[in-house]
């Protein structure tokens, strides 16, 4: 994985000292909260319902064991022994004290981490495929390009006060595991007919109040021109994105209002100008330098493990976990392991300091010292020998980390909701817990198959409900929490925005409603169909009739 050189380190160190000065000015009263707000919001520090919340960037979701141990250490020393992994592949501390923040950032800097641009109207943490470097279907490691984008976007002098926040996601596989089409910019890396890397740039996707699937704006951009193309896109947005209305300020609204064709024209014209300046052309030496950090680890030459079948036959729980949470690796004899942070009835995405330490230890000994955070709020060990899977499972199981539910209905994405967030209209965690308990039976979950259930506590859609096969949105009706259900959303390469099925449900009705929808799917499905496939075939009508029949 990437390691800082002296320049990267100095940028982060200087930022720590700068923020220390800003916090000092706030603590002495030289700055009032209104004046401090834009400064802290440049550095991932929010004021939530009960306390400050610090959001730490995990660039493209990749961590070393040392970094994860530091995150655990910070949770212990400055917070309440746990932290929350988010849909942006970031980590949030919910209870830090303002006076401690500079020290937390200094601790993070010692392991090449920071909270830069995890909030504010700037280019946020770049996200990517959590199976990068391990999955057979990718054409290149998308983290190379994510890192290049990370550096270009860090403290960009022109684009730090955009009309609104800006999110970029990168994938290099035809199977989109990074939900790139619901990002402000989504990049698909492919190889053209000659085998050369080409970058398709999708622009104007997003969720929130007005969800859109992104349009293909830049097709087949060459590697050396990637940053010039991004700069051109950002400049068009910075000049012409709306600033009169907070809710219409994202680039998706600009693309929608002027149309993708006009957007293509404007970006293309700006691209010519930026390229002519030349300064943003990526030298091959830099691409090579960064690529070297992401070179494949020293895989052994193995065959697929012969003992595995026997181990599975002897241990039903291990077998189930293996079938569900272990994905194929590009190298024979290796596997990709998803560590679910969705225990039945638990808080999606939360991990204790002890759990983080354990995962760090396991990654160090069994997975080339590397951990991934997925946008689905799970952790991934990307390079585990198949012959180590049983012992890995045993250790995870002992720590409550072996929940077998990857991709199943209890692998729920949920935002922190009204339990923490001052933007929320309703709680999310309670609904996730109720649905999780309702579908706790593993045989039942496996029979249902892949079903992505996503819950947001407000229209900002941090819980990605718009792209849930089943989405749940918390709303406030005269001071009471209600939940609106959407169906048929998807964040993958067939991205679609879910359809609202009808009037919202009370909190205690949500699990019943989900169960009713799932039961109907089981009746309607044809062989091999997932929930999403059945829904796309039948449309919303049978689901609507079933759900509201009793009302």
């Amino acid at each position: 994985m990437y390691r800082y050189d002296e320049f990267d380190q100095k940028i982060v160190d200087e930022r720590v000292e700068q923020f220390r000065g800003q916090v000092a000015r706030r603590l002495t009263g030289e700055l009032n909260e209104d004046q401090f707000k834009p400064l802290r919001l440049m550095n991932g520090l929010y004021l939530q319902l009960h306390a400050y919340m610090l959001r730490v960037a995990i660039p493209y979701g990749t961590l070393s064991s040392r970094q994860l141990r530091m995150l655990a250490h910070i949770a212990r020393k400055y917070d309440k022994d746990y932290a929350h992994f988010t849909t942006r592949q970031n980590l949030q501390y919910n209870w830090p004290k303002l006076a401690d923040i500079p020290d937390i950032l200094a601790d993070l800097a010692t392991v090449e981490m920071h909270a830069i641009q995890t909030s504010g109207n700037c280019i946020r943490n770049v996200t990517s495929d959590h199976f990068a470097g391990a999955s057979a279907d990718e054409v290149d490691d998308p983290r190379v390009w994510s890192e290049i984008i990370r550096q270009w976007s860090t403290f960009h002098p022109e684009f730090s006060f955009l009309p609104r926040k800006f999110k970029i996601a990168v994938t290099a596989a035809p199977k989109d595991r990074a939900a790139i089409k619901v990002h402000d910019i989504g990049i698909v890396i492919r190889r053209d007919a000659s085998g050369t890397l080409a970058f398709d740039v999708y622009v104007g996707g997003g969720q929130g109040r007005t969800p859109f699937v992104a349009h293909l704006i830049g097709e087949g951009i060459q590697a050396g021109d990637l940053l010039a193309y991004l700069e051109a896109t950002m400049r068009v947005y910075n000049q012409y994105g709306r600033r009169d209305n907070l809710y219409k300020a994202r680039i998706k609204i600009l693309v929608h209002q002027i149309g993708p064709e006009e957007m293509r024209k404007q970006v293309a014209a700006e691209f010519v100008e930026v390229k002519a300046q030349g300064a943003l052309a990526l030298p091959q030496a830099e691409i090579d330098r960064i690529q070297a950090y992401f070179a494949a680890p020293a895989f052994e030459t193995l065959r697929d493990d012969a003992l595995l079948a026997q181990q599975k036959a002897q241990n039903k729980a291990f077998a189930a976990w293996h079938d569900i949470n272990v994905s194929p690796h590009k190298m024979p004899g290796y596997a990709i392991v998803t560590i679910s942070l969705k225990p039945i009835g638990g808080v999606p995405g939360d991990a204790s300091a002890d759990q983080m330490d354990l995962v760090a230890d396991l990654a160090e000994t069994l997975s080339f010292d590397e951990i991934r955070v997925s946008h689905e709020q799970n952790l991934v060990l990307a390079h585990v020998k198949q012959s180590d899977l049983l012992v890995l499972w045993q250790k995870l199981d002992a720590a409550g980390l072996a929940t077998a539910n990857y991709g199943l209905i209890t692998d729920i994405i949920a935002c922190p909701g009204l339990d923490y967030c001052d933007l929320a209209n309703a709680r999310s965690i309670n609904v996730a817990q109720a649905v999780s308990k309702r579908f706790a039976d593993l045989d039942r979950q496996r029979n249902i198959g892949e079903l992505k259930l996503k819950i947001s506590g407000c229209i900002n859609a941090c819980g990605h409900h718009h792209v849930g096969h089943i989405g749940v949105l918390g709303v406030d009706k005269k001071g009471v929490e209600f939940y609106q259900i959407t169906l048929g959303g998807s964040g993958d390469e067939t991205a679609s925005i879910g359809d609202i099925i009808g009037p919202a449900f009370a909190e205690n009705e949500v699990a019943d409603a989900v169960e009713s929808l799932v039961d109907l799917y089981l009746n309607l499905r044809q062989p091999g169909e997932r929930f999403l496939d059945t829904y796309r075939r039948t449309g919303i009508q049978p689901f609507r009739e079933k759900l509201y029949a009793a009302h």
Partner: protein
């Protein structure tokens, strides 16, 4: 408003002229509207002229006229309105404007460095601003990833030793 240039407080040589106001002698700042309406008369004056752009006015519309101005003032009505950063870069890098670019309006201390990197070299600041704070703000960060209008060697150039000079070119000195 106090004005900072070259890391020092300086006198403001330009007088703001409202659109209806009669043209006085001496250095003045006019709006884009007035420039369009009275271009010939303004050019016939024998005194420096500066242009004031609101945040929704792109300097690209001025084109080659840009070189008639001794100074261009970019207004920042709210600190969140970041269009001026793009205007400054277009002025410096596309229109090749060599005169003063001044930032006025709602500007935070922690924005001065970004502005400087984009090519802004004069800053109207709140009364009470200390010059030490300004100097500190401009040196709190010294290493930069992006090429910008200040022509400072980027991290990429330092890594690969491709920059002709690793000295920071002082925008303010232009």
């Amino acid at each position: 408003m106090p004005l900072i240039k070259n890391n020092e407080f300086v006198d403001n040589a330009f007088r703001h002229i409202a659109d209806e106001e009669a043209l006085p002698d001496g250095a003045i700042v006019v709006s884009l509207k007035r420039w369009h309406a009275e271009r010939d008369a303004l050019m016939a004056r024998n005194a420096p002229i500066a242009l004031r752009l609101s945040s929704d006015q792109s300097p690209e519309a001025i084109g080659a006229d840009v070189h008639h101005f001794a100074m261009i003032e970019l207004e920042f009505p709210k600190f969140k309105d970041g269009r001026g950063y793009s205007w400054a870069r277009l002025l410096r890098q596309r229109l090749n404007f060599k005169g003063e670019i001044r930032a006025s309006g709602d500007v935070l201390r922690d924005q001065w460095l970004f502005m400087s990197r984009c090519g802004i070299d004069a800053f109207e600041v709140d009364p009470g601003t200390r010059i030490e704070d300004f100097r500190t703000a401009l040196t709190e960060q010294t290493v930069f990833y992006q090429p910008a209008s200040d022509r400072v060697a980027t991290v990429l150039e330092l890594r690969h030793k491709t920059h002709s000079s690793s000295q920071r070119a002082s925008v303010a000195a232009e």
